[in-house]
Symmetry: C5
Subunit: 97 residues, 5 copies
Amino acid sequence: MQLALVKGSVVSTQKDEMIKSLTMLLIEKVDPSTLKGKGDYLVAIDAVGAGIGEMILFASGSSARMTEYTTDKPCDCVIMAIVDQYDIEGKTIYQKD
Amino acid sequence: MQLALVKGSVVSTQKDEMIKSLTMLLIEKVDPSTLKGKGDYLVAIDAVGAGIGEMILFASGSSARMTEYTTDKPCDCVIMAIVDQYDIEGKTIYQKD
Amino acid sequence: MQLALVKGSVVSTQKDEMIKSLTMLLIEKVDPSTLKGKGDYLVAIDAVGAGIGEMILFASGSSARMTEYTTDKPCDCVIMAIVDQYDIEGKTIYQKD
Amino acid sequence: MQLALVKGSVVSTQKDEMIKSLTMLLIEKVDPSTLKGKGDYLVAIDAVGAGIGEMILFASGSSARMTEYTTDKPCDCVIMAIVDQYDIEGKTIYQKD
Amino acid sequence: MQLALVKGSVVSTQKDEMIKSLTMLLIEKVDPSTLKGKGDYLVAIDAVGAGIGEMILFASGSSARMTEYTTDKPCDCVIMAIVDQYDIEGKTIYQKD
């Protein structure tokens, strides 16, 4: 999995039947050591109710289909956790407000 | 999933039986924050009737086989949504004409 | 899928039983806008009878096992189409001789 | 698989039901020839009881679901071995204390 | 698949039950046109009895589980062929001694 920030949402009316009811969010990968955005964006299906600005974890590839929402769907990226806190070498780098 | 622009089409008469009837489009990944093409091209199967110049979402890997058109086919990239609009930090970056 | 040129062949006598009878070709990814090789090489199983110098499409990952030749084989890259022609923004970039 | 160092842990209360009880560790890929961190971080599920500072191996993609802990879970990265020692061209590069 | 050179071996006593008896080798990707190492290392399960210094082919992802040795194992990289020879544009670039 990788850390990313939720940056926005994506609207599509003309899409595959399988993903009609799912929420698609635009996420930006972050450098975990600096918390800075990498300028590398993905569009993910939200399986945990994430909001704009939240630090999340996403899973890629076939593992992105292993949530209740994404089973058998043409989805290669899913938000499967909202991050509360993480540390590097004993130092807290990120703490959710 | 990732955002890309449809740039053209690919014609092939000598291809695997499984993909004989499918439309193959040339797509270019875009930087979602600037809308500029990244010069990074892929060939995708079209599952939603996308046209040249449209902003689309594609899924990669095994998830690209999860549409009605691509099931069990040697396809690792599928267009599964045409984008109407997306925003970054509350600001609309792309809006379909 | 991605565009590549067939550059050569790979010979191996000591290989996994599952791929004993398959043709392995060395391919080089091309920049679709310039037709230049990217210096990025892969070894692919040939499912369509491609020859040296031909422009082809390859599929990666589990999708590379979705041809008659590669089913259940330890193959992560398959040539599944020989390209006749492709265009970018209405302009023909490549046309097979 | 790739070599990485365990750098920290990730805490999440709001996450997919499937991964509720699993330990998530922050890992940094290392250059095996120099033992230096690459600044490339991933979050992995721990299947072997790894600790901060340990050199580990992780598996990616669908293979990350092939441990007892990660079966059918939205996990694309698993720590499946703690490294005792490795060598390059006959020279020991890393030896666990 | 990709070309790589076997550079060393990796020892681990604390590892997932599924891979207990398998040989893990450190491999370095090579630039097929120059035969030079790219400084990009992976750890692969050996399915063909490869030795240090040998030029091999490896398969990645789920395809790495399609050998007799790696079925259903948390393995995302397998050596599935030892290379005897390969050529680029009719010129032999590599020939095993």
